[in-house]
């Protein structure tokens, strides 16, 4: 099975930048993820939303990458949000306590609806 590399595209909404993730969040995702995060932060949004809707695999190295993003976001006092996670990965985010530091929404719409609140 060929490893599916991560594709990350950024969409800018008022006060929220959305990173659409596609593929696997593993060691190979580091570059794409960091580049997307930098781009997402370029317009100085209040929050950045990670859209995991097209992510089918996150491993412990991927968790570490998300921890790094979360650390960067906290440093720049920016909220990090997540949506589109499968039930399993919601559980993983809860077990790892990532869910304590980033708001998790079922889909993009509910994330955006709650974003101003979450970002405040």
């Amino acid at each position: 099975m060929a490893t599916q590399h991560l594709e990350a595209k950024v969409r800018h909404h008022p006060s929220v930048a959305i990173i659409d993730l596609h593929g696997e969040i593993n060691a190979f995702a580091e570059e794409a993820l960091n580049a997307a995060y930098a781009e997402a932060g370029s317009r100085n949004p209040d929050a950045i939303l990670l859209n995991f809707g097209d992510v089918d695999y996150i491993n412990s190295t991927g968790i570490a990458l998300i921890v790094s993003l979360l650390a960067q976001a906290r440093k720049s006092r920016r909220r990090l949000l997540a949506c589109g996670l499968s039930e399993h990965y919601v559980e993983v985010f809860q077990i790892t306590r990532l869910a304590d530091f980033m708001s998790i929404f079922s889909d993009e719409a509910s994330a955006l609806a709650a974003a101003p609140e979450a970002a405040s």
Binding site: T61, A64, L70, R74, T96, F101
Partner: protein
């Protein structure tokens, strides 16, 4: 005269007339001048008896004895010989050639020589004793050194620790005799969930035994990697050992292969003491016949097999135990050992029990004649613990014989391959119809365990594969992920400190083992010299063991 004395001064170390039949020449000290050649006098030479019984200066030319030493003295030109006798024992001779003045020795000369001999003899004797003691000390030191080497060889090659295995308890006890017998034992790990057990004894002591032990161990380890049947392994070891083993030496050896999942024990025996299996009906011998290794080529070894039930123990041991004697010279014996094994509930505590039984039997002043080696193997309980009170009886009744291998495969240690491992395991467990959430957790745990094995165990060396075996019983699923990183420890999974990671005080990594532990009902880590296995257990009965219902 002084010069002459000095020139002809000889001292002899003497064993004296106590060993008249031994034709060993007395050791002759190197003369302190150029004139006197070294002279050896055999202890049984008649001249020894003559000098011991006739004190005082002797005129060599006037002596008439059938003595090789006397002929040598005459040939050398010795005119006078003054025996140095201490405590009735000839310890040396003062030999003088002709006077330089060509005159005869005067009576004054003789009186002086006699006085000198009387005073010199005890001094020479003391010097000889000192030298003898020094030689003995050196010899003792050499023996100690050899024993040290033998012990070192043995201690280096015996396993440093017993393997830690899920569902099994293994323990070993080794107490070398002072002279270091040739006992050895070994554990050989196979990546397919089998364990090789070796116990043996070389028919000698000290360095030779230790070297043969080391050789046998190496040959056996090599053969065990290539051959699957214990009988064939012993045959091979015998063939290789036969041409090289010193004559009159041989090796008794029992080799068994244990299948950790099913409890099946296959074994073959090259003349070693029969192991005892402790069952609920008492102790029974595990009998298989075969000649000791190294006696003659072309031997065949009978192969037997049995399946150990939960709670059962097998004791492997060496003859140092059964052949130990008490002060009345009564032997510990096989029947006594068998009786003791039958009386004891078994398990690792059997070692302590037998040690005490042996100490009670031999008494406090026992001088251990041979190495004592005990190896215990116990099937503790099924790896699938049942809830609460059911655990004991139910577990023993069901045993582990009902574990089935769903799949086993290897995976090259290359980044990203954990996903393939995860999918292969998922496909293999499809027939179990796991609830979706349980399956997802299992997949994550398999991926993480595989990644841990590839990265930390095999250092992402593609030529070192990760071995994965999936087993299922009626009540549980077991996935065993084995790497080749036995030289490093798998740490206990700790809960990562997320705050510290977010504050940049810790690396963001370090989630793998924590995730695995939280994804499955049980995570077990077992290690040996070369391998690490992470075993993931999921219980199949309902969801009471699980984290949440999907």
């Amino acid at each position: 005269m002084t010069t002459q004395l000095r020139n002809f001064w000889q001292t002899l170390t003497g064993q004296g007339s106590r060993e008249p039949q031994v034709a060993r020449p007395l050791i002759v000290d190197r003369p302190r001048g150029p004139a006197a050649p070294a002279l050896g006098i055999a202890p049984n030479d008649p001249i020894v008896m003559y000098f011991q019984s006739t004190p005082g200066v002797a005129e060599i030319d006037r002596l008439n004895l059938d003595s090789p030493a006397l002929r040598a003295l005459k040939k050398t030109g010795v005119k006078l010989a003054v025996p140095l006798v201490s405590q009735g024992e000839l310890v040396g001779l003062l030999n003088l050639g002709p006077r330089l003045s060509e005159q005869d020795y005067s009576s004054d000369d003789r009186a002086l020589l006699n006085t000198l001999a009387t005073q010199a003899a005890p001094a020479v004797r003391v010097a000889q004793l000192v030298r003898q003691q020094q030689a003995e000390a050196i010899a003792r030191e050499r023996i100690e050194q050899e024993l040290h080497v033998a012990r070192l060889i043995q201690q280096t090659l015996l396993p440093k620790e017993a393997p830690v295995l899920a569902g099994w308890q293994v323990a070993a006890y080794y107490q070398p005799a002072r002279a270091v017998g040739g006992d050895f034992y070994d554990f050989i790990f196979f990546p397919d969930g089998q364990l090789g057990l070796v116990i043996g004894d070389v028919s000698d002591k000290g360095v030779p035994a230790a070297l043969v032990m080391a050789t046998t161990r190496a040959i056996l380890r090599g053969a065990a990697q290539r051959l699957v049947s214990p009988g064939q392994v012993l045959e091979r070891v015998n063939e290789v050992l036969c041409p090289d083993i010193p004559p009159n030496m041989f090796v008794t050896c029992l080799y068994a292969i244990l299948d950790l999942a099913s409890g099946r024990l296959q074994y073959a025996n090259a003349g070693h003491d029969l192991p005892y299996r402790r069952t609920d009906r008492g102790a029974i011998e595990l009998r298989a016949t075969g000649m000791p290794l190294g006696l003659m080529p072309g031997m065949h070894y009978e192969e037997k097999e049995t399946t150990l039930a939960a709670g059962e123990t097998v004791l492997f041991y060496s003859d140092g135990l059964v052949e130990a004697h008490n002060p009345e010279r009564v032997m510990f014996s096989f029947p006594r050992l068998m009786g003791l094994v039958g009386k004891h509930p078994g398990g690792v505590a059997l070692i302590d029990f037998l040690q005490h039984a042996l100490a009670d039997f031999t008494g406090p002043d026992w001088e251990q004649e041979d190495d004592v080696t005990l190896v215990i193997l116990q099937r503790t309980s099924p790896p699938v613990p049942l809830s609460g009170s059911e655990r004991g009886s139910e577990g023993e009744r069901s045993g582990e014989g009902d574990w089935q291998t769903l799949t086993e495969f290897t995976m090259p240690s290359e980044p990203g391959n954990e996903r393939q491992a995860m999918e292969q395991v998922a496909a293999a467990v499809q027939e179990l119809h796991l609830p979706r959430a349980r399956l997802e957790r299992l997949k994550t745990a398999v991926a993480e365990a595989t990644m841990n094995a590839m990265e930390h165990g095999n250092k992402y060396r593609a030529e070192l594969p990760v071995f994965i075996r999936v087993l299922a019983s009626a009540t549980a699923l077991s996935v065993r992920v084995t790497d080749r990183g036995g030289d490093r420890l798998i740490p206990d999974p700790e809960t990562p400190d997320l705050e510290a990671k977010l504050a940049g005080l810790q690396t963001p990594r370090g989630w793998g083992l924590f995730l695995i532990k939280n994804m499955v009902d049980e995570m077990r880590v077992t290690s040996d010299d070369t391998h690490h296995t992470i075993e993931l257990i999921l219980y199949l009965e309902g969801d009471e063991h699980g984290h949440s219902t999907p």
